[in-house]
Symmetry: C2
Subunit: 239 residues, 2 copies
DNA sequence: CGCAACATTGAGGGCCCTCAAGAGGTGTGG
DNA sequence: CCACACCTCTTGAGGGCCCTCAATGTTGCG
């Protein structure tokens, strides 16, 4: 897990004097940012550390803050009493853990559990709203983030509604590989969590992986996957 | 279909002099709004009319505008050559038809077709961004809208992944009824479109409706549904 | 080593899809 | 007015996909 990154703001939309290096997790979470905005966020935000297995938040509970995962790994899903978390999303910091809940109806929409020791950064939503009024470029960053999230979710919804399990897996594999030079992937999560996110059982995922291996599309060895026939995989993933 | 509504802005967050009646579709689309913001949007937006059956936009094509449905009915989904639209969302104006596509990657993420004659309102995204910088309260409205959308989609994702068809139907029925005084619902869409949105076939929907009738939970007569046992329906819908 | 957690593999079954036929409703034209 | 085409919904039969349950293999750790 990399430490909080340091990025230089490309800043086509910022005045010259603000084109400087911004420290902290904000560039990774929000993209290019003015120094003053990052400082204002620092002033609002607070940090919290959790141990592995701890519950970050529960669905239905009050959400007065946006929650970002600065370091570690967490899973979102539904926690039923007496059962394990049924994982719907796994996050590796730095990433947004709860972006919409606080902004929407001040309730968390799902449960979240720490899968490793992790650190959170929380921004109270009411002061953030006031800040966004004073600093519209910051508001625009959140607009972009939320629009991205809507786009991703639309894609997932489509796949769940209209693709079968093997097409979903193929699409997921393709997605993991675009933007990557080497055709080798090291799975960062338990296979059961990958399966859960794809809306299938671990058994089905295992069988599909074997099937793809036997057909020569991929080569699997433990948590390492190598793509052998990316075109066929793309074709299997559908349109 | 009602004409563009007239609402009085509650405007807890607006200066006194702006608490006046805002005309046009904006209050319904965006909530309470300053008069100046509405006028600025009017200056940016353009209207367009389409006949029943026409394609509003195709997935993958350039999206340089946010698209709102001011009047009529439209469906979003995937259009495969030689097949009917597989509906994933049906919208009744006034409502947002394409909120995130233009803001996200300037591409439409799905196909949209007019199901009745309809009128659109389109806001070019680049001028809108500039406007949001000058008028942060407007940006906040879009943040809220997008956060709402994310919340709704999270719920749909959860239901598709972890609920069976009857639970999804029960949940959908419950959702249609909360915020409604009478326990009677007039279906506003074709049943095949409802089925498609719920991720099932029309045949399965028909069988489930009959099953719920036989168990005494609802009474169905054509496009009219009456809830008889709302508690049992809620229980069937799951947590 | 023993234990625990995860992954894999197989057998069986249930949910839901596909295909097909029939019923009911609506608009059109003779 | 009726025949006809067309669309939608309904109902039934059959089958495939994927889930459930159970047993086994593998890996990591005390």
């Amino acid at each position: 897990m990399p430490p909080p990154m340091t990025l230089t703001a490309p800043a086509a939309d910022l005045p010259m004097r603000q084109r400087v290096t911004v420290q902290g997790p904000w560039p990774t979470l929000l993209g290019s940012l003015a120094v003053a905005d990052a400082q204002a966020l620092d002033a609002l935000a607070s940090s919290r550390s959790l141990a592995e297995g701890e519950i970050v938040f529960r669905r239905g509970t009050a959400a007065d803050s946006l929650v970002a995962l600065t370091d570690g790994q967490a899973a979102c899903g539904w926690l039923e009493p007496g059962r394990a978390l049924s994982v719907e999303r796994v996050l590796h910091g730095p990433a947004w853990l709860a972006l919409a809940g606080a902004l929407h109806d001040k309730r968390h929409g799902c449960d979240a559990v720490a899968q490793t020791a992790l650190t959170l950064t929380e921004i109270p939503v009411d002061p953030l709203r006031l800040l966004m009024v004073r600093r519209p470029l910051l508001a625009l960053r959140f607009v972009d983030l939320l629009a991205q999230e809507v786009g991703r979710q639309e894609l997932r919804l489509h796949e769940l509604m209209h693709k079968d399990a093997s097409a979903r897996l193929a699409a997921w594999l393709c997605h993991q590989f675009d933007g990557r030079a080497q055709p080798v992937l090291r799975l960062a999560e338990r296979k059961r969590d990958i399966a859960s996110q794809l809306g299938m059982t671990p058994e089905t995922l295992s069988r599909l992986m074997r099937q793809l291996s036997e057909r020569g599309l991929i080569a699997v060895s433990g948590y390492t996957v190598r793509v052998l026939d990316s075109a066929a995989l793309q074709h299997l993933a559908g349109p």
